[in-house]
């Protein structure tokens, strides 16, 4: 993990998971696993979030909620699918109401497997997301600078 310049904020949303991955995600943010030592902070507000942790698959009713949350997040943003259900639909793939994994509706960058995903795996996913966010935000800065210079000439 390279030096982190910014502290990305996490948004966690429960798609249609069984709660197993949710409480493991929450456990990651408490002292024993303490994901906050990597510079991330948990938030409930999509308008201030940089990394989107989604657990559980997509169904017909939460589809619009997930899309909205993703759109409300400012650019650049990173999406982490936590647990087998968020990756592919998992054990519920054959259920009549499940459309599939989170990547059916939003672009997913990092997939964390497991049923339920273990805290160690989730932390690994978060670290990768922090790196990716750093890379994207550097690119974003470059682009903004380029646009500013281009406008000046």
């Amino acid at each position: 993990m390279a030096k982190v310049k910014k502290s990305p904020w996490l948004l966690h949303y429960d798609g249609s998971s069984c709660n197993g991955c949710d409480i493991e995600t929450l456990a990651c943010l408490t002292p024993v696993y303490d994901a906050e030592r990597f510079g991330v902070v948990n938030t409930g507000d999509p308008l201030q979030a940089d990394i989107f942790l989604i657990t559980g698959g997509i169904n017909t009713q939460n589809r619009s909620v997930v899309e909205q949350l993703y759109q409300q997040m400012p650019r650049p943003k990173v999406v982490v699918a936590v647990g087998t259900c968020a990756c592919t639909g998992g054990i519920f793939k054959d259920c009549y109401n499940i459309l599939g994994g989170a990547d059916k509706v939003i672009p997913v960058d990092i997939y964390v497997p497991g049923c339920a995903a273990r805290p160690q795996a989730i932390i690994d996913g978060i670290i990768q997301a922090v790196d990716l966010f750093q890379k994207r935000s550097d690119e974003h800065e470059q682009k903004k600078k380029g646009a500013a210079n281009g406008g000046h000439h």
Partner: protein
Amino acid sequence: MARKHKRNIVPFGPQHPVLPEPIHLDLVLDDEKVVGVIPSVGFIHRGLEGLVDKRDFKEMVYVAERTCGICSFQHGMGYCEAVEQIMDIEVPPRAKYLRTIWGETSRLHSHLLWLGLMADAFGFESLFYQCWRIREKILDLIELSTGGRVIFSVNQIGGVLKDMDAEMLKHFLDVLAEAETEVREIQKTFMLDYTVQSRTVGVGVMTKRQIHACGSVGPFARASGFKVDMRKLGYEAYPDLDFEPVISNDGDCYARCDVRIREIFQSIDLIRQAAAKIPDSELAAKVKGNPDGECFARIEQPRGEAIYYVRGTGKKFVNRMRIRTPTFANLPGLCEMLKNADYADVPLMILTIDPCISCTER
């Protein structure tokens, strides 16, 4: 001039900082008072009961366990009990005791989880962390004995898959003794702290009559003096164990907190009794044939009474599986409780029924 009253509807959820899970409530407000609540559910509906057509009755144990990640073990146990009663399978005594021990362990971790969320809801973050720190010890015990942390599939039709030796049981009791002293410490803060009391005492009062009318279950009902505990029906090893349902008579948020903390001590005591009495026997009975018939099984989950209905027609795939979960039974009580509440108290009051939306919507 009298102010003209105008009612407003404030949406609550599905994504809300205080809720780890999505539920949507339309709160009808008159000034700062809530006068009506319209819940809408379905954000986590998966339709797992429909999977009976695609998974045979033995595989359905794993699906039933994924109804909810918090009371996962007890969901699997309830389904197994229903099928065992249809097929007339006598579960070996050691398996019954092991199920009781794991069931109570999962009640411990569920109640500690709830206490943490409760502390977070009234803004006491360090107390939240303390509760979850103790909970990690319980999860370590579960991981040590089963290999899984939150979803540990050790149930099978006819018994259990794993055993605990004497050394493991002793380790269980040692860690639980440690956890008990720590819970006694945090109990003082929850029960005696002036600031905490100002958020919980007298908030969201439900009378015994209201609880009865709404059909509420579990600690929510017991906090209003309703002595109802399915463990007294005597499934698994509970007939051999000595316990009384924990009740309180105040019916407010404080009483619900009190009941759950005392249930933590009760669970630790039940595990101690079970560990002292555990007999030697096989771990699982042999299963022959397919379920033919129907059955209701009722068990007491951390959140209250859950009912499992299974109907088989002698085929490998059961015909129907239905779960009535405790939070579903508590939703009418929640809507009743929220009427005339202050808007600022709504998140805390929703939390005190210990909502588990994954169970409710399945």
